[in-house]
Amino acid sequence: MLTTRLYMLQRLTALIMAPLVLGHLAVMIYAVQGGLDAAEILGRTQGSVLWMLFYGAFVAAVATHAAIGVRVVAFETFGLSKSVLTPLTWLIFILLLSLGLRAVYAVTLSGVLG
């Protein structure tokens, strides 16, 4: 069940994510060469404001995007009633946002601040 507002939000967040996904994929391909290593990853990201902004934006966009997306599927495929859809959308949004921001905090700022 999409109104124009939700539709626009979903498309705009998708547009924001597109370059971020490409960047992320590139880093991943680079990173997995020689195996994944926590120290190597953290070494690259920790303390970097740029990486923080990069992943911060990613998380905000994806939380919005996926919450709307799951809402649509919950409605069309599982027939959830409209009264549960809005709380569900918010729940997924908040869950993804908080988990995501915590992860971003963990890999970028935690070492610097804590």
Binding site: R11, A14, L15, M17, A18, V21, L22, L25, M28, I29, V32, Q33, G34, G35, L36, D37, A38, A39, I41, L42, V62, A66, G69, V70, V73, I92, L95, L96, L99, G100, R102, A103, Y105, A106, V107, S110, G114
Partner: protein, 115 residues
Amino acid sequence: MIRPHRNHPLWLAFMLHRVSGVALALFLPIHFYVLALALTDPAALNDFFALTENIWVKITEFGLVFLLAAHMLGGLRLMAMEWLPWSDRQKTFAATAVAGAFAISCSFFLSAVSL
């Protein structure tokens, strides 16, 4: 369920996009949880990364990256279709999207296993 009326490329592209979207949404919390281990339990994070040497975990990862790439390309195709003046080449678009996704994830997979 692929009933006869669904048996055409655009419906399959739709289903791929939907399945990949939902799969990504399910994977994300796990992904975030693992990364947050850097904060709470760095050793566990490394143990986890060690797991990635396991071929099954590699295949799962390959799947996820494939889904992300497929979903993104599929999404870009949709937005192109919706916002750019309509073209009848949309079916080719769909195919290209999947092929592109496949190429990216293959390169990822190859680089991951080619040690």
